[in-house]
Structures are given as structure tokens and as C-alpha cells.
């Protein structure tokens, strides 16, 4: 694990070229009589995929289902090519899981805990010990590895959870709300670690979170869930539809004529305030055309900002679209 700086993997492939890490095939999950995941279909190809959604959307349920904790009511999912229904054990051998809540034995030292889980994953005893030391060192707990996990702070417990998820060298990491309870510095460091692990392309990562900033910072693909339904997927690196460009305009005075004029040219318009509007430009139309329209209507443009949707915009739009369709 500890290698010289020259030992670098080649740059990861683009998302569209990559083998899907998870394929959802009309996956349904019921808990009791409630339908929690409703016919999820899609294929996740990114190196670091963000799983977004409001509380109760089914993010954690999806992760737990991928681990076989909940059984699929109908449909299936393939994780790294293995079927959820028939190859659960094979999936778990390839996956490292960091749950949202505390997950440790309070009386065990960090090194013993990580070694124990390494051995359960199939590492020989001495290798598990060696990699346990390395994993704890890697996440920054080298000095604290002989302390009992029960005495750790929240941030340290999060790091132990990451170390145990990494110790056996999984091909897929499932991280459930990994930055919960971390202070800003610890959060930044944690995200740096995650980015570093994902960057090599050997270990793919699925992060469930409702912290859009975290997801936007580290992920290259995003899946948005709402009420158990997959409402949007978005390639954060290249997808022009996912993060659509738009123009924010501030008019010298409100003009219905100007709005009608640019709407007639195919622009999508959202009126934010009396003199502030957001304009989605159709293909072929440029900002100079907006100036021409303003000139012909006799108004001035006080401010023109060309922007792209932030992840928050994509997320909110997905929530709104879903509301409208439902």
C-alpha cells in the first residue's frame, strides 16, 4: 500500500468508457408493507458516484440492499458484474462498507478491530495485521491505532470506519453519509482521502450523502433518488444536460415586450424578481442576440452573467420535475 511516488496508475477512463460498477435492473425493495425502492433502473459508471436525495429517499436502503441486508422484492442489481440475488457473498467480498452510524466494538483497539474485519474479508492473519497498520496510517490514525475505538472522537471513529472499509482492498467502496459529524478541517481531509482512493480507478466509490457540496467536490457522477424513485442521473464532468448553461439578466426596467421577444426566439425564461430573469439559451442563440432584443425594446441590460447550473440547481430541478410528474 505504501509505494513510491512514481507508482501511479494511468489516468482513469472517461465515464462513458468505463464498465458499469452497479447496474440496477428494475430493483424494488419492500420493508414491511412499504415500497422503499421503486423499480430503480440505470447503470452507474463513474469512479466516484454520488447518491443524492432528501431524507427518506432510499439512499441508505439502496446501499444496504446492495450488501444483501435487505432482499430485493423484484428486479435485480449487478454489482461489479455479480447478481445481487445469487451472488451476495461474492459482492460482499469485493465491497468495503462504511455505514452512517457508529459501527465498532468499543473495547477493541483500532488495529485489532481493523485486523479482525480484514481477516473476515479473507486476508490471511499476518497480511490483515500488516494492512490494518497501513490502512490506519493511511487515514491518519497511525498514532492512535492501539487505543480502544470506544475512546475515539466522532471524527476518529469516522476514520476508523474508512480504514476498516479499505483494509481488504475492495473494488467498490460504499460510503453512507461519510462526512457526518466532522468539523470542516476533518471533512476536507476526509474528502481528500476519498478523492485520492477514487482517483486511481482501482477502487470505485459510491457515496450516499445529502451534502451537495461534498458530492460536487469529489464525485464525477451523481444519481438522485426521491421517494424511492431514481429521478435523475448526471455526469458532473461532461454532461451538458445535467449542468445546463444559462444567463442571469438584470434589466433596467421590467419589459413584457422584451420577455415575449426572447421567448419567441426559443429561450426558456424564469422570472426571479421584477427586473431579474434567468434565461436558458437554445442552441444557436447567443448573448449578443439578447442585447439586440433589449435594444429593440428600448431597455438596458444592467448585468449579464453566463452561468451553469450548480449541483444544487440540478438537484432542485430533479425534485421539482418529479413533483410535477407525480
Amino acid at each position: 500500500m505504501m509505494v513510491t511516488s512514481t507508482d501511479r496508475s494511468p489516468a482513469p477512463l472517461g465515464i462513458s468508457e468505463q464498465v458499469p460498477v452497479i447496474e440496477l435492473q428494475d430493483l424494488c425493495v419492500h420493508l414491511g408493507n412499504r415500497l422503499i425502492l421503486n423499480q430503480l433502473r440505470g447503470s452507474l459508471k463513474g469512479n466516484i458516484v454520488g447518491l443524492l436525495g432528501p431524507n427518506g429517499a432510499g439512499k441508505t436502503t439502496l446501499l444496504r440492499t446492495l450488501l444483501g441486508f435487505y432482499s430485493a422484492g423484484s428486479g435485480d442489481a449487478r454489482v461489479l458484474g455479480h447478481s445481487l440475488r445469487s451472488e451476495g457473498r461474492d459482492i460482499r467480498a469485493l465491497v468495503g462498507y462504511m455505514p452512517e452510524d457508529d459501527a465498532h466494538i468499543a473495547g477493541m483497539t483500532a488495529i485489532r478491530w481493523v485486523r479482525f474485519l480484514g481477516e473476515l474479508s479473507g486476508l490471511p492473519s499476518d497480511t490483515a495485521l500488516e494492512r490494518g497498520h497501513e490502512a490506519l496510517g493511511y487515514v491518519g490514525l497511525g498514532e492512535a491505532r492501539y487505543r480502544k475505538v470506544g475512546t475515539f472522537s466522532t471524527g476518529m471513529k469516522q476514520l476508523v470506519k474508512l480504514a476498516q472499509a479499505l483494509v481488504h482492498g475492495p473494488r467498490l467502496l460504499l460510503l453512507d453519509e461519510p462526512t457526518n459529524g466532522l468539523d470542516p478541517a476533518a471533512r476536507a481531509r476526509f474528502l481528500e482521502l476519498v478523492t485520492e482512493v477514487g482517483a486511481r480507478g482501482e477502487t470505485r466509490i459510491l457515496i450516499s450523502s445529502h451534502l451537495l457540496g461534498d458530492v460536487e467536490r469529489v464525485c464525477d457522477e451523481v444519481v438522485i433518488l426521491k421517494a424511492g424513485i431514481l429521478v435523475a442521473t448526471c455526469d458532473l464532468r461532461t454532461d451538458p444536460d445535467g449542468k445546463q448553461p444559462f444567463v442571469e439578466l438584470e434589466l433596467s426596467t421590467f419589459s413584457r415586450e422584451f420577455i415575449d421577444n426572447i421567448e419567441a426566439q426559443g429561450c426558456g425564461i424564469v422570472i426571479r424578481a421584477k427586473t431579474r430573469i434567468q434565461v436558458e439559451l437554445p442552441t444557436g442563440l447567443e448573448i449578443r442576440d439578447l442585447f439586440r432584443a433589449a435594444l429593440s425594446c428600448g431597455i438596458g441590460l444592467r448585468r449579464v452573467n453566463l452561468r451553469r447550473d450548480s449541483l444544487q440547481d440540478v438537484f432542485l430541478r430533479a425534485m421539482e420535475d418529479n413533483n410535477a410528474s407525480s
Binding site: M1, P99, L117, P170
Partner: protein, 286 residues
Amino acid sequence: MPVLDRVWKRWKGTATSIHGRFFVITRFALADAFASRTFLAFYVLCFLPSLIALLAVYLSHNTAILEQASAIQDWLIEIPEWIFHHLFGWQAMPAFLIAVVVAPSLIAADMGHNALAVVLSRPITRREYILGKLTVLLVLLSPLTWVPALALFGLQASLANGSWGVTNLRIAAAYLIGHWIWMLVISLLGLAVSATVRFATLARGAILAIFLVSAVAGGIINQLTRSSLGDLLHLPKAVTSVVMGLFGAPTPSDLPIMFNWATLIVAALLSLWVLNRRLRACEEIA
């Protein structure tokens, strides 16, 4: 500037066999148990009945020593038969105490801080997890019960005349089967309680209470109904009856022995049912 750069790398070696993976759980739990010196001392003490019995059987066949200790000679010569009648109880009680001490923390510790979620995210099943924990108790209890019992039987057979071993083979079988029944019943009950009661001291009390309450309830039902129906609940009597039946001796229960077997089987199945209900990687909240 660092000489080495820390870079994450996957492990690409050969994984250990999946079939013996449950033994990792056993190994770590045993190491935890023996980390306590008090427990180690207590465990060593539990060997005393078996060691004394082995010594007594050896002495009863060693005529040279017996001649020097003529005053107790007659008593010593009678010893093997007497020992084989009473040894089961002497071995069963320390085994029970060890189970009461060890079992409560076996599963409760894993459930206390949701450790099960990451344990079961590994390539092991819940069945293997239970098997791993059950093996802890079986490994601890075997050296106190059937192993020394069979060793004692072997010693007696080798020291006595040639046909003793063959003619008394039933004793060996009764010790083997009886101790395994006893180990399984107390181990499964202990694990079920450990999966239900979080605090070890309370769990220890609960295991004792199960035996006590079942005995009291059984006695009351017997009194009220003026029958032996209460023996169906009476766990200690069921175990004793089954074991006595294996030895071919009269049983303390008036019920046919198959009912005592049924009591033990139901207790074991109930324990497994509780384990199955309680041992989840995560709660299913519908």
C-alpha cells in the same frame, strides 16, 4: 518533501478459504475471553473435578500406592464406579458457570455499537456468524466435559481388565452425547440471551433466571395439576432425565423420556429463533 508518498493500493493476494472463515470470529472471541486473568484462573479451576477423578481412577488401579495407604484402600477400590455415577454433574456445573460468564458478552458486544453492520458486510453469512460464536463456547466447554470424560473412560478401560471398556461402552456414549446436549442447550440459550440483553451482568442473571424460572414454573404446574405436565417446562429436570436415560438409569421425571427430549429441542429451537430475529445487520423499520 516526503521520500515516500502514501498512495492507496488494492490487495491482490489469494483470500483464505470461505469455509473456515467463521473460525476468525471464534479465534478473536477466545482471545478476548482469555485476555482476562481472572477468567483464566477460573477456567483452570474448572478442570479440578476432572483432574481429581483422573487421579482417583489411576490410584484405584495402582496397587503399589494402595498398599502403602491401606487405611483408605477399600474406599479407593470402589472409586471408579462411584466416579462414573457422579462425574457428569461435577463436569456439567463448571461448564454451565463458564457459559454464564462468557456467553453474555459474545453477541452483545457486537450489537452495542452496531458492529454487526460491518461484520455482516463481509463475505460471511448470519449462520456462519452464529456458528463462529457457538464454536467459542463449544471450544471452551469441551475440555471441561466430554474430553476429560472420555479420557477418564479410556484410562479406566486401560487399567481395568480387558473387557471393561467393551461391556461399559454405553457409559462413554452417554458421556459424549449427554455432554454435547448440555453444551448445545446452554450455549444456544446463552447466545440468545446475549443477543437480547445488552448488559453482561443482566444477561448472566437472565441465563440463571431461565433455568430457575423454568424449574419453579414446572414445579408449580405439577402441584396445581397433580401431574408431571410441569416437567415439560422444567429445563434442569429435562436435561437430567435425558442424561440419566442415556446412562440407562431411572429418570427424575415421570414423563416418557421423549417429552424431555422435546423440551430440550424446543428450547434449542427457540434460542435459534431468537438469534435469527435479533441478529440483523440493520433494523428493518417498516
